[in-house]
Point group: C2
Chain length 207, copies 2
């Protein structure tokens, strides 16, 4: 049996435009944690690399993976399916690595159901006004899409109670430090199996 502590699974969610992608990038910088690569049926966008940005699969392949219980969570978004393959996540956790999933709230709730030990972190915008500004600033969405995203944001925020932690992303650097602080504190949590920790002192006493 291996002696190291199992890694922890972190779910980072939050409305579109709250900066969760940037936060996740900072968390995984210099190999501190692993980010899980999602699987999707949508077509790669220019520059996206299969196995790096996403695992790009057909609808048939995705539905087979669902049927075989190989997905930790998945969701239909417009006409495509997005999800997290279970196997890779579990292997990493067993090797003692912390793994991050950047997924939406519905996905987060699916993960919590199948892995209640996962740590769910919700990234909130300082206000809807600021969120709107950020979405406008990205210049990727039409005004209609932005209003739709804001309505979705409220629906997501209403599920905050299902999450373990929340971080308001006002100043990015502070938000990144808040999340890093949560990860550091979680590393100080007394694990279910305390024997390896206590045993060290008992053996010393026995000498």
């Amino acid at each position: 049996m291996s002696n190291h502590q199992r890694g922890k699974l972190y779910v980072i969610s939050g409305p579109s435009g709250t900066g969760k992608g940037t936060i996740c990038k900072e968390l995984t910088a210099r190999g501190a944690m692993d980010i899980s690569i999602s699987m999707t049926t949508r077509n790669p966008r220019p520059g996206e690399v299969d196995g790096k940005d996403y695992f790009f699969v057909t609808h048939e392949e995705f539905e087979k993976a669902i049927a075989e219980g190989k997905m930790l969570e998945y969701a239909n978004v417009f006409d495509n399916i997005y999800g997290t393959p279970k196997e890779a996540v579990i292997q990493r956790l067993e090797r003692g690595r912390n793994v991050i999933l950047e997924i939406d709230v519905q996905g987060g709730l699916q993960v919590k159901q199948s892995m209640p030990e996962a740590v769910l972190i919700f990234i909130l915008p300082p206000s809807l006004a600021v969120l709107r500004e950020r979405l406008v600033g990205r210049q990727t969405d039409t005004p209609e899409v932005i209003e739709k995203r804001l309505a979705e944001a409220i629906n997501e925020i209403k599920l905050l109670g299902e999450y373990d932690y929340y971080v308001v992303n006002d100043v990015l650097e502070d938000a990144v430090n808040d999340v890093k602080g949560i990860v550091a504190a979680e590393a100080r949590r007394v694990p279910d199996k305390v024997k390896p920790i206590i045993g060290k002192y008992e053996r010393e006493k026995g000498e």
Copy 2:
């Protein structure tokens, strides 16, 4: 109804000589948190001030407080009783202050039973050898008392599984930062009542 978040109760425990007193002093520096003042039947030592170091009371007074359910936890140590008066702690929490109790593991378990929302942090020595060195270095205990304290240390450490977090006090500054990090992360926990947080966004949307 007041609008602020209720404060959190932190229990800091650990074997004698692990430096938990120093850690608590650092945590309460500049009024960041309140430390609870214990009640005791033992006589004041030179320099100790009633109401600051301890509330010094008679055995009769202490037993009356126990009988009236006014103690959050208490324990007999040799011929004296030590404990935490409930009222002052609850008042502070209701005012939104975080409160620290520096008490032994048995006391910590009593607190957890009556206030399951309390956050229990266990301070561990890097090893029993280091703990022995520290106890010897204090020059306050006879070799027999030191051996007794080490045996007690093991008995306390065996109850680690009942605690929420553990911090190894190797370098004091790191241990203080670890505990501060736990307190900071706990402040990011989604509270039982999420209405005040969600409401802010809902009101904004309603505008």
